[in-house]
Amino acid sequence: MWSYPRMIKRGDKFDPLDVAKQTERMVCRNGARKYTAFYATGVYGGIATGYVVGCCLRCFFCWTDFSRDFPEAYGEYYTAEEACENIARAAKKWRVTKARISGGEPTLCRKHLLELLELIEERDEVKLFILETNGILFGADESYVRDIAGLRKVYVRVSLKAGEPEAFEARTGASREFFELPFRAVKALLDNGVRFHVAAMTDPRIMPSEERRRLIERLAEIDEFLAANLEEEVCDPYEGTLVRMQFYGLDPVEFFGRKGLGTT
């Protein structure tokens, strides 16, 4: 019997497109999407943030709160208009001109996202909107990429989780046959003239150096500049990370070191 995947253990695997659909049933409703908060934070030199609920991957190193694992239990529904208003208000309050959706996977609830991005285009408070995605849905359907390609404020950050199919499955829980999707997203973004860069969880405690090398080479095959401008992510000991890691079968104290545990 199929059950909704929450935190993963070694060996777990699922179809991320199916999980995306299941999650959408819990976090999208008539064009509205579940959010847990609107605020501004210091990353990107200061950015207004809408924290969305729900993702289609289950990375054991994920930093987000437990709304990723229990989307039915967290958040409130906001229409695109309400979300835009709250994001613009946070930007104005904290005097920042960048905005993003973070926490969950923003490309879930396509209708909501596209409406929100259209509304952001009209708002003076926001000059740049950073769309942080795992690339699964963009890779599965290039028409989604084309939908955002004409939006002048949109900037995409695609975060890769692995450089090999087996590692992709082991770290995210998503079956290895879907490994290509984020790379397809990268190619589609490039082909459609979207402004973006690629990030990857290359932390050597998670990704062996040979795999990192293959990931960079793979990116360079698509485009050398994307590989040279790769943002290399570091795994930090957030509460959600520690719990997911323990559940996965890794000892967080061993992983981060005693001093490292209190650093977030």
Binding site: G42, V43, Y44, G45, T97, K98, L128, I130, Y155, G193, R195, F196, H197, T202, D203, P204, R205, S209, R212, R213, I216, E217, A220, D223, E224, F225, A227, A228, N229, L230, E231, E232, V234, F256, G257, R258, K259, G260, T263
Partner: protein, 92 residues
Amino acid sequence: MALRDAIKVLLKLCELEGEDVTLKSLCSAFGVEVPRELEGLEGLPPRVALAIAYTDRELRPLLREVACEVLGEKLARPSIDKLLGKIRKNRE
């Protein structure tokens, strides 16, 4: 500094801090002049500024050329320096 050299320096500086500061502040911290071609992008994180510059058809060939030069060094390193430093510190 010639644009080619500046781009090369910026790509390397992004390895130290590419997301959480502005291009202007990163350049200022390392005594690098913001290239004239990137002046409109000063307020953005350096990596974002470079990625946006890459969508400029005139700048793209030069950026790609410099990227190829930097890529060899990136591949040769086992991992990012800032991370290795952090890990070592936490394990002490």
